[in-house]
């Protein structure tokens, strides 16, 4: 009986290491936030100092596919500078308020993604907020072009996605993964994107031809990029190695979102 238990334990250990996608690592960070926010915030800074047993600091996210990831990163970079950015820049002739409204419209359309994921994490209040926002912005906000739910009622958008839902259920981030076009992601969040884009997103349930679907998605992408104050350019110029910098930022950002 005991040997059986040991084998199961070893097997599950092996699986959790080798298959990061299904690795249901218990989030240690989660509990430390609950005990004392203040101390936890500093502990991170001060404890990291001491040499860890292995002689190497624990990485924010493991990246065994770095070579491949850097390749995709390079392609995305070229794609961004030679195609997407020029288009977005040219598109900026459209007045800002109009682009803002288009962004609001797409965001409103994607409400189900946020609402479903909030519900899956039992964030009942947030689910209510999202549904309330959908109701108010679709009607008073003229099909979502405006955001009176936030400006008039103070109902903030709740950024929830399927990657965070998986994290909520204890799925660790798994390996770092740079996806074509989507950019920085992880094994878990990549699965999340599939869930959000191809299962929950209401656009899947509209009868669209493939090129129409991609047209709409590309338009959404370029429009939202036109509103971005060139943050990628800033990172690329200022950091010694943009790949490493973005990877660290992504890992921290996702962890904080899941612990929220």
């Amino acid at each position: 009986m005991r040997s059986l238990l040991t084998i199961t334990l070893l097997a599950s250990l092996f699986i959790s290491w080798s298959l990061p996608v299904v690795a249901a690592e218990v989030m240690v960070e989660k509990s430390s936030v609950e005990t004392d926010d203040f101390d936890a915030a500093f502990d991170d800074d001060f404890n990291d100092f001491d040499d860890p047993p292995g002689g190497k600091a624990r990485p924010l996210i493991s990246d065994p596919l770095e070579g491949w990831n850097r390749g995709v990163f390079w392609v995305n970079d070229k794609f961004y500078f030679y195609l997407v950015k020029p288009v977005a820049r040219g598109y900026r002739v459209v007045p800002r308020p109009v682009r803002r409204s288009i962004d609001n419209f797409f965001s409103n359309l994607a409400t189900p993604v946020r609402a479903v994921n909030a519900l899956l994490q039992f964030k009942i209040k947030d689910t209510g907020t999202e549904l309330g926002r959908l109701l108010v912005n679709t009607t008073v906000g003229l099909a979502g072009l405006f955001d009176p739910a936030k400006s008039q009622l103070g109902w903030e958008k709740k950024q929830e996605d399927f990657g965070q839902t998986l994290g909520y259920y204890g799925v660790g981030s798994g390996w770092y993964l740079v996806l074509p076009i989507f950019g920085p992601s992880s094994a878990r969040d990549g699965l999340g994107i599939i869930g959000d884009y191809f299962v929950i997103d209401p656009l899947n349930y509209v009868d669209l031809k493939r090129w129409e679907y991609f047209g709409i998605k590309s338009f959404d992408y370029v429009n939202s990029l036109s509103l971005d104050p060139d943050s990628y350019e800033g990172i690329k110029r200022d950091s010694l190695d943009p790949y490493l910098f973005i990877r660290a930022a992504y890992a921290q950002h996702r962890l904080a979102k899941i612990n929220k």
């Binding site: 203040f38 915030a41 950091s239 921290q252």
Partner: protein
Amino acid sequence: MKRIFILLFLFCLFFSTSLWASSGPTLEIKKVVDAVLKVLNQPDLDYAGKRLKVSGMVQKFINIDSISQRTLGVHWKRASPEQQARFSRLFVQVLENTYLNRIEDYSGGTVEYINERVKEDKAIVDTVFVSDKLEVPVQYKMVLQQGVWQIYDVVIENVSLVRNYRSSYGDIVSSEGLEGLFVRLESKLAEPAGSGKKE
């Protein structure tokens, strides 16, 4: 009886002045933010002029030793005192350049002070940068040294700058060594300021 009152009065006076002198963490943040925003909001000043005026302003408010130490993390202890000093010197310049390059992106906005938590010689100040385009939560982590509150980390939208630098610099040191990191820092500093961006 009267003497006790006078004593008490004097004591209060002393106490209040000493409180003023030590100044709180939020006050320190306000000082630097107000000073920088004052320059940035000058309509007749061009980018180069603003850059010149802001440079050096921020350095006074950050704890250079502690920010450099935390950034190098495990590699700090292994470095020689000369290497530590060299790193601090280079890193502060890179930090400042990064900050100054951001000036270009600024187009109005204010800072709201949300919360301040102090525990012994450490403090966290929560602020939000608000403009018509975006709202960004910015958290300052501070440490009290020689009676002055100094910044040792800035957390923007839950991303700690120090942890980010530690992670990426740590990788560079692991593969190229400390000297490799110095070479990279120096070549970054040699790049012309405020270039590479066109709007």
